[in-house]
């Protein structure tokens, strides 16, 4: 009996067939495993990226071919006041919204880092704005910013009597810009706060104890313990936040569609407007390509921030 058992195992192996043995070949297995992911990414990401750069140098229109026109698209964009205004608006939007998100998100993370009752429920609630489809919450903001029936205006004018007239949130350029930035900050706070909270929780309490024994004030504890320990995560979250704020599309498209008079247009919405409804695929692609230098700059920043902490895959991790 005890002789039969190993024999059984030995006999079962060839039964698994040639295919199974092929899958035991490591090289074949690696290729087979990587094919679906790499294939999809090459066809629908790398190739379109190259195609986009090519389109930017052509005068392609939707549904029709185009010809190579050199840097003509970029030259005409450089003389286009709407595009130049859009670049400024995009940088302004990204800078102010990111600063707001980080100031408020860090504050929220520090608040959550205290021992709180119901902390898991509070955390779940805080993530809600991040979970819900952006366009749908943007529509809610659109209604909150309604010129006539805005609830904010109602509270300020009719309840608190602080203002004489309703605020025209989306009617004037600066009001519209700041309304959009506020909505973007609202949506971005949860991600920043929860990520930074994760970073805060990795800081060892003994560091704070040591600082307290040395007589450090709360501000000094924050400045000399929390801030340096949080820097690596802060850099990563900051890069992601800048990247996705800079390429934001949904909020602006849903709330103002770039109006009034293109004063809230971002580069992404302008690329869409020129490219799809406008049909000028080449020009839209040129606007999208113009975003790449900014995105590369923040990606490099992310790479170096990450590599400083040793990249996730690295053998010498920890």
């Amino acid at each position: 009996m005890d002789v039969a058992a190993p024999a059984l195992i030995l006999r079962r192996r060839p039964e698994a067939g040639r295919l199974a043995r092929l899958f035991d070949n490591k090289t074949f297995l690696i290729c087979a495993c990587l094919t679906p992911a790499i294939g999809l990414l090459v066809v629908f990401l790398a190739y379109p990226l190259g195609l986009g750069v090519w389109l930017a140098f052509t005068d392609t229109q939707i549904g029709g071919g185009g010809e190579y026109v050199g840097i003509e698209n970029f030259v005409s964009l450089a003389h286009d006041p709407v595009f130049l205004k859009t670049v400024f608006q995009t940088i302004f939007y990204t800078a102010v919204a990111t600063a707001g998100k980080f100031a408020l998100g860090l504050w929220l993370a520090l608040l959550l880092n205290h021992a709180l009752p119901f902390s898991s429920i509070i955390r779940a609630i805080i993530l809600l704005p991040w979970i819900v489809p952006t366009v749908l919450s943007a529509i809610a903001f659109w209604w909150i910013y309604d010129p006539q029936f805005s609830i904010i205006s109602y509270v300020l004018v009719d309840r608190l009597h602080l203002l004489a007239h309703n605020i025209d949130f989306l009617g004037t350029p600066w009001h519209a810009r700041f309304s959009l930035i506020a909505a973007n900050i609202w949506r971005g706070i949860p991600f920043v706060a929860i990520s930074l909270l994760a970073g805060l929780q990795t800081i060892s309490p003994s560091l704070y104890e040591a600082a307290m024994l040395d007589g450090a004030s709360p501000w000094q504890r924050f400045r000399f313990v929390t801030a340096p320990m949080l820097m690596p995560i802060l850099a990563v979250v900051l890069t992601f936040s800048v990247l996705f704020t800079f390429s934001d599309f949904q909020l602006v498209y849903a709330i103002t569609r770039g109006g009034p008079f293109d004063t809230t247009q971002l580069m992404a919405t302008l690329a869409f407007q020129r490219g799809i409804p406008g049909g000028q695929l080449g020009e839209g692609a040129a606007i999208a390509v113009a975003m790449i230098p900014f995105l590369v700059a923040s990606t490099l920043f992310s790479y170096f921030a990450l590599s400083r902490r040793k990249w996730q895959q690295g053998e010498a991790n920890e």
């Binding site: 919450s137 029936f149 490219g275």
Partner: protein, 293 residues
């Protein structure tokens, strides 16, 4: 309760003064944050159940509450528009894209983390970099590509393009999970004569279930929320996804039907919110985990 909480905060002397300070510096700001973060949802819900005349008149009744709740907005949405069909399309697209992405990501993450070949680090890095390419610079060439493939105005265009932003994220998340599974388990199985595929199916995958769940939730919510591809690649009304359809089909003319708009937004947010509430622990832990690593 508050004493116990304060005591755990450190060696502070418990006095009424420090308790007041704690309330002012922690609970009041926290309450303000929660209020601001939740208010748009509250306002969305309230508006969805308000009759039209109440919606446009703040002086007859308190606008923060509903005097005469009504289901008219929701009824109108469900029976007079294509809303159920939009929901169905969105659901189908999200589920298919999630399945494709998880399948591809599991294999890729397994190959990168467990099969360990020369250059696996660089493949991992390349996939990570793919995540940093925002859809807003891809949608124009993708529109051209979708057109060439004859997929324009077909849900298949969305099912095939969504994995471009789902795979990098899921692969990244799963690499982290696979790393936490002891390598010895696989070696034991190899010695026992299991094939690589058997190891993946019988040992690695069952142990990585929490990771698979988080990756699945992320993929589902991300594809449910996707907007720009669905806006650019789909043109006929009945094939639109919920976020796009609400914005392009329900907003017509100069008088906005705020009641049904809000009802549509509420119903469109509910599936992800419910889905999320079931798995919130996985979600939060994997989100923080992904950042930690």
């Amino acid at each position: 309760m508050s004493e116990a909480v304060a005591a755990s905060d450190g060696p502070t002397i418990l006095s009424s003064e420090s308790r007041i300070r704690r309330v002012v510096t922690i609970y009041v700001p926290l309450a303000c944050f929660l209020l601001v973060l939740l208010f748009p949802f509250y306002w969305m819900t309230i508006t969805a159940f308000k009759p039209n005349e109440e919606l446009l008149d703040y002086h007859q009744s308190n606008p923060f509450w509903i005097a005469h709740p009504t289901l008219a907005n929701i009824k109108k949405l469900l029976f007079e528009t294509d809303y159920p069909r939009w929901l169905l399309t969105t659901m189908t697209v999200a589920i298919c894209a999630t399945i494709i992405s998880i399948f591809a990501s599991v294999l890729a993450a397994y190959a990168i983390q467990r099969l360990r070949f020369r250059g696996s680090n660089y493949v991992g890095l390349a996939i990570y970099l793919a995540y940093l390419v925002p859809p807003t610079i891809l949608f124009l060439p993708l529109a051209e590509l979708v057109f060439q493939f004859g997929l324009y105005d077909s849900p298949l265009a969305l099912i095939l393009t969504y994995p471009t932003f789902l795979i990098p994220f899921c692969t990244w998340l799963l690499i982290g999970y696979f790393k936490s599974i002891p390598y010895e388990l696989e070696e034991c199985a190899l010695i026992d004569g299991a094939s690589r595929l058997q190891i993946l199916r019988r040992i690695t995958l069952p142990l990585a279930v929490p990771g698979l769940i988080s990756a699945g939730i992320f993929a589902f919510t991300l594809s449910w929320n996707e907007f720009i591809y669905a806006l650019a690649f789909i043109s006929s009304e009945e094939k639109k996804t919920v976020p796009v359809a609400i914005l392009t089909e329900l907003v017509q003319g100069d008088v906005y039907q705020w009641g049904s708009l809000m009802a549509g937004s509420l119903l469109g947010s509910l599936p992800v919110a419910i889905f999320y509430s079931f798995f919130v622990e996985y979600y939060v832990s994997s989100m923080t985990g992904a950042v930690k690593e």
